[in-house]
Symmetry: C2
Subunit: 351 residues, 2 copies
Amino acid sequence: KPNFDPRDHQHLRYNPLRDSWVLVSAHRMKRPWKGQVEKPSEDSVPRHDPNNPLCPASTRANGEVNPEYDSTFLFENDFPALQPDAPDPGSDHHPLFRTKAARGVCKVMCFHPWSDVTLPLMQPEEICKVIDKWAELIEELGPTYPWVQIFENKGAMMGCSNPHPHCQVWASSFLPNEPALAERCQRAYLQKHGEPMLLEYARMEAQAQERVVVENEHWLVVVPYWATWPFQTLLLPRRHILRLPDLTSQERNSLASIMKRLLTKYDNLFEVSFPYSMGWHGAPTGHYLKEDMNHWQLHAHYYPPLLRSATVRKFMVGYEMLAQEQRDLTPEQVSPPHHTTQYLLTSHRIQ
Amino acid sequence: KPNFDPRDHQHLRYNPLRDSWVLVSAHRMKRPWKGQVEKPSEDSVPRHDPNNPLCPASTRANGEVNPEYDSTFLFENDFPALQPDAPDPGSDHHPLFRTKAARGVCKVMCFHPWSDVTLPLMQPEEICKVIDKWAELIEELGPTYPWVQIFENKGAMMGCSNPHPHCQVWASSFLPNEPALAERCQRAYLQKHGEPMLLEYARMEAQAQERVVVENEHWLVVVPYWATWPFQTLLLPRRHILRLPDLTSQERNSLASIMKRLLTKYDNLFEVSFPYSMGWHGAPTGHYLKEDMNHWQLHAHYYPPLLRSATVRKFMVGYEMLAQEQRDLTPEQVSPPHHTTQYLLTSHRIQ
Ligand SMILES: O=P(O)(O)O[C@H]1O[C@H](CO)[C@@H](O)[C@H](O)[C@H]1O
Ligand SMILES: O=P(O)(O)O[C@H]1O[C@H](CO)[C@@H](O)[C@H](O)[C@H]1O
């Protein structure tokens, strides 16, 4: 019987942030692909389109006119999934028909006045402005809401309906499923092992250098050991940090720099503006601001859908939806020192 | 302050099978869509293509030649994610780098010798043959494996790479995340409430007639109260049944009939061969066959991706991946008595 080789032999890996397992079947990468081919993203976005509601000086759906902004620009989402004043559905329900109140706000933040740039194409100083605004948003909305989800859907493949570089912020009166899971798992880990889970994890990954994509003095980006999406990454600070506002200005500069490096690598991988959904998970806010949240460590998840090329994605469908997530190559195989294509290591094509 | 109206006011609903919540923001359906438009599925699939490895008499990737089958046809997946003999990765691991052995088999089952039919276009007797084979598969693989996942990815949008009508069967040496969750939730429900969760649920939905899509003597299809995908449905038997092999031949006939009705309604909704991923969840097998599993009720999930039309899908992206699933219309709005378009109720276009 052959020895276990993760590239040849399927196995399960445990995701300690979600208390669940992923099926790793790397030998499956060999199968031919005859399924859906994605439209490559058009790279002919005009720098300024007066009809694009996200551009400076454009009129939005609600009739408001955007300012002639020259850096970031924040406004209320014109079609918010969460509103501050929804009435309470009442709570006296049968256990199979349970409803709960949901209140909140949804905002949109443009990263830059130009529609034809993306984060990796922006100057580090410009990215810093985005980071500062993210931190401000947590400070502004945190006291009212227990969860402030900052996220970016990039690319049409990820449901993004406007090419202008932007992210969203949905703050809610409840702790959503995913952060509730991360809260529970990190809390249990500190209790059991005496160290914040992701602080220990970053230290071990930095030492192993098996799955590191980029790193600098303050930050580390790895393909997590339990990654589900083919090129999924986890962005971690090296010191213990609960929330975005806690970052020093040095750490913000260094975050801007590592984000630019990571996203440039992504763009270079398949020579396309790389689609992904990303978002920040920091310690919950609201009433949690007064509690001991030292089991938390600030981190960002990047979930890119592509698998083999700019036009062939991973589908998380039947088996994944009904049974368990499955990946077709190991996290180590997609990390720079091991990567089979040259892209992830080459010098930056797009700068 | 207005009274609560689920169509106007966002709220959370509890999914008792997954112990999680979905954000329902029905007012959001009003927003314009300028994002990705899907390729409508080609309806010009040739009845027989000698180069399609799923057709009768074709040669497959491993060199085997398919028989001239005239009903269903089962074979081993040529690119299996699970193989019966993978070596053990060993279990002595750091809590952040946990691995587990995974063994199993992956099979493919063609529904019909013709490539240009789908389940709703097949005769009820032909669908019965599929159901019989599903039951046989559970009987055959169940004693060896605790979980036998039968699932169908239909349509290129759902990652299906071959238009020939078929499903897959992945049997595993472990209980995957999703059934493990359903196991835990159903067990706790019976313990607490004294009745199997989904038996009680079917009875209540049949009585309420608020979310019923189709029903007959033995079966009920509802848009579950906690549906996440816009047109998601749950197929439930009316009596207590643990697994597919337990179905009587009358129940199988009646299942064939309700599947045909449901899938025809789906096809009629947007006048397109409706894409979805579907799969069966019955009580776990393997060593569970000897245990009391009366908390379980057999059921099938249908997860279709479309939202507004044949070409506009719901994207489960940034917020959904990082925080919580969100839907843009209420489950009641998509159920036949309430549905705003005529399609779901009209006579069958495609028969
Ligand atoms: O096995 P297939 O049809 O080639 O592949 C399809 O279904 C699998 C099981 O849901 C997924 O893992 C794949 O991503 C998808 O493309
Ligand atoms: O708000 P947008 O960009 O219009 O919409 C996009 O992101 C949302 C949040 O992840 C999703 O609910 C939508 O399905 C997606 O299309």
